[in-house]
């Protein structure tokens, strides 16, 4: 399997810049999170990667080959999207057959088991399904298509907690049975934080973080204590946000702590999670509560 590289992709719709010089690389057989607030440009990006729409500039390459109009390369990528492109009376079974014709080797057996676990029947028509059921039909399709890169746009849209749970479990099962790359594009960060190995965060149409989850969390420190001491300790470090409560200030850092600096007794260090990191990174200072 070859890596998929997104190189300097920009996209304009009329006057509006939707993606601004976006670059990152997806490695084979890894689970990624593509995170961003609503309207950040995630769906547009996924549609560009899979050649459904064209970028204004930039390229997408699988290995050394440009994927644009390259059927071989595009046959290794599958996008589970929001748009429903099937004609009216299309059964779930028919969507599997179509995927089998396009990609080959569709895993009918696992798909049948999963449909049953989710309480669906492959003779049901896609257009008759509720939002949540339609998501399930698409997920089961995506989990069983034979492709090296499976991109999922809002994979848990409309699913209740039980079904989300079942999906995460089936995703890991599928990944372990046949390691390939999954990209989960979502704003439900808490739920996927443990599932994804690497995240790409998009904000204001640009990539603002592209890193291993564990590495980001290692840098995510809280420093709290008397405001003056916290300010002294965090001087020169990257502070994303801070909060004051009485005389106590808490600073949220995204940086290595300096081993040389002495931590005063009244100052406490801690960690915060990916969800909060995302909020502080993407809120552009809205959460500074000074």
């Amino acid at each position: 399997m070859e890596q998929l590289s997104i190189n300097h992709i920009s996209k304009r719709f009329g006057r509006q810049l939707v993606l601004d010089d976006v670059s990152f690389t997806l490695a084979p057989a890894k689970i990624y999170g593509l995170l961003g607030r609503n309207g950040a440009g995630k769906s547009t990006l996924l549609n560009i990667i899979t050649n459904r729409i064209f970028p204004t500039s930039g390229t997408v390459k699988l290995g050394d080959l440009d994927t644009n109009n390259n059927d071989d390369a595009l046959g290794k990528m599958f996008l589970m999207g929001e748009a429903n492109l099937y004609p009216k009376r299309t059964s779930i079974r028919r969507t599997f057959d179509l995927a089998n014709e396009a990609y080959g080797q569709f895993n009918y057996q696992t798909a049948a088991r999963q449909l049953q676990e989710f309480g669906l029947d492959d003779q049901q028509h896609v257009n008759d399904l509720s939002t949540g059921q339609r998501t399930i039909a698409k997920l089961v399709l995506a989990l069983n298509v034979d492709a090296d890169y499976i991109l999922m746009d809002e994979p848990v849209l409309g699913l209740d907690a039980t079904h989300r749970d079942l999906f995460y479990k089936e995703l890991l099962k599928s990944y372990q049975a046949k390691p390939r790359t999954f990209v989960l594009s979502t704003h439900l960060i808490e739920e996927v934080a443990q599932l994804v190995e690497h995240v790409v965060i998009i904000d204001q149409h640009k990539v603002i973080a592209d890193d291993q989850v564990q590495h980001l969390l290692d840098l995510a420190h809280t420093v709290s204590g008397p405001a003056k001491l916290v300010d002294e300790y965090t001087a020169g470090l990257r502070v994303l946000a801070s909060e004051n409560l009485g005389n106590i200030k808490t600073a949220y850092l995204l940086d290595d702590l300096d081993d040389q600096r002495v931590i005063p007794d009244q100052v406490k260090l801690g960690h915060y999670d990916l969800q909060h990191l995302f909020i502080y990174l993407t809120s552009g200072g809205e959460h500074n509560n000074d």
Binding site: D165, Y168, K169, L172, Q176, Q194, Q214, L217
Partner: protein, 127 residues
């Protein structure tokens, strides 16, 4: 099996710590097989790479061993090893913290010793 994660430390370390605790308290016997990376990953919804990192940490510490084709097992002597390590850390993990808090509260050394004796007397400490 009950796992409980928070943001206090990297996930793989928390996972390793909780498996260690289960070995220590007899949840897993020495020589017994522990759940596979695949099982833990699917059950806990954690990326397999993270689970593997946690398991490997326990292998490096000599608490688990890999048996080719069979899976991961608790090494004989693992419990003793955990016990020794915890004894080594007891001073840092408990005694130092106790003294720092006592100092903040103005509790004297004599009073502290009295409190320890009272705790023992009350039978809240099991031997």
């Amino acid at each position: 099996m009950q796992f409980d994660f928070d943001g206090s430390a990297p996930l793989y370390q928390q996972l390793a710590a909780q498996i260690e605790e289960m070995i220590f308290t007899g949840g897993f016997d020495e020589g017994a097989q522990v759940p596979s990376t695949t099982q833990l990953s699917q059950q806990l919804h954690i990326n397999p790479a993270t689970v593997l990192k946690g398991m490997n940490m326990l292998v490096d510490e000599g608490l688990l061993e890999k048996r080719r084709g069979l899976g991961m097992f608790v090494r004989p002597g693992a419990r003793q090893k955990i016990m020794e390590r915890r004894k080594d850390n007891f001073y840092n993990d408990y005694v130092k913290k106790l003294l720092v808090e006592a100092a903040k509260l103005g509790i004297t050394k004599e009073h502290l010793i009295e409190l320890i004796e009272r705790g023992e007397h009350d039978g809240t400490i099991k031997h």
